[in-house]
Symmetry: C2
Subunit: 225 residues, 2 copies
């Protein structure tokens, strides 16, 4: 098959991936919004839409195999196709974390929030911005930009630790707040995990472009120090 | 290149993968042992050995690309090679979770455990057993066995919820126990995450053998119900 057919098929694969990325990014925004407004209907709608995201991710997997099998791509093209495959898996899992925000909303029922949301919306903003940047870096084949995204994960880790410490003071002061504190902690935890997954995407972009594997995503420290 | 050369190279790739699997399994055992005995030297040794695991995982990535590029494998072979690539990533992350157990040991210093370890060693046992079974299933190309492993993840999730509820009663009774409770909770959390990653391996084995993608690993519920 001629080179331009391959380019076209690879382009189609990347377009599908970027579409999945846009949908995934939307789930983060909606998960946060449902949490802020305690909108159960919005939370349920978000959970229901997860099936569609899973479907697109499977489609990308199939498309990638098809492309490898029919086009027999060499090194750099192969890395790019495998990157699509792996980024799709990360995106699907990011959407699962956003879905978890919706699950928290359903779980909380009508009990008031322990405190106004300040750091959690900032975390969600950073997640969305990092995700957009990582996918842009992939689209433009820009390893430097991908690396910059990975380094931003520290911002999220620091905010998570701050949320953690703040919630701890509530619990130490009054142990009866523990359940409400944990709901917010789990929300922050899911956003922190999204940051890790975006970092995985960044690493994958670097590898696709340069052929160098770097481990920039260290699993977060198990204990808040 | 003739078929038997390909078979030999694929066999070598799988051998490397199974070696990585054995090392990873060992890290779970050692992480638990360090936690039980509060052995800081063992914890530090475990952390130091992580570099070697990362090295093998990169080697598998390179070997997989090489095999795809030189052998141009078709559908089922391709799925098997990609499975090696993806399982290696999961193994490396499982080892990171085991390393987190060691980090907890270092973090705890000399403070006594909040309570004797009962469910956490059971969780570690289940993790090790699931990991062994998932890699056996891959080696034997046994999709049924892989599916059975995935279903065992519920055992871990239930134990994690049990640990969570138990620790919560300590904290509600005496808020000053919160830090020690969190150390144990994070240990259990890391084991629960290992179960998720083994489930990812199981799904990957099913896909390698059958060509069917199934999502058996649902991200754990964000809230302990």
């Amino acid at each position: 098959m001629p080179r331009d057919t391959f380019e076209r098929q690879l382009g189609a694969l990347k377009t599908t991936l970027l579409e999945l990325g846009a949908r995934t990014n939307q789930t983060i925004a909606e998960g946060l919004e449902a949490l802020k407004t305690r909108d159960r209907a919005m939370a349920q709608a978000l959970i229901a839409r997860d099936t569609e995201i899973n479907r697109i991710r499977y489609q990308i997997e199939e498309q990638s195999y098809e492309l490898i099998a029919t086009q027999q791509p060499l090194a750099s093209d192969l890395r790019e196709i495998i990157a699509c495959l792996m980024i799709a898996i990360e995106l699907e899992r990011i959407a699962d974390h956003a879905k978890n925000l919706a699950e928290i909303v359903l779980h909380m029922g009508n009990e008031p929030l322990l405190k106004p949301l300040i750091d959690i919306p900032r975390m969600a903003d950073i997640c969305q911005s990092m995700l957009t940047q990582s996918l842009d870096a992939f689209a433009r084949r820009d390893a430097l930009a991908a690396r910059a995204v990975c380094l931003r994960d520290d911002e999220l880790d620091n905010l998570y630790k701050q949320v953690f410490r703040e919630l701890l003071t509530f619990v130490i002061e009054d142990a009866r707040t523990v359940t409400r504190a944990l709901n917010l902690l789990f929300a922050a935890h899911n956003l922190e995990r999204i940051g890790d997954r975006v970092t995985n995407i960044g690493e994958r972009v670097i590898y696709a472009v340069t052929g160098q594997l770097e481990e920039l995503n260290v699993e977060p420290s198990p204990v808040a120090k």
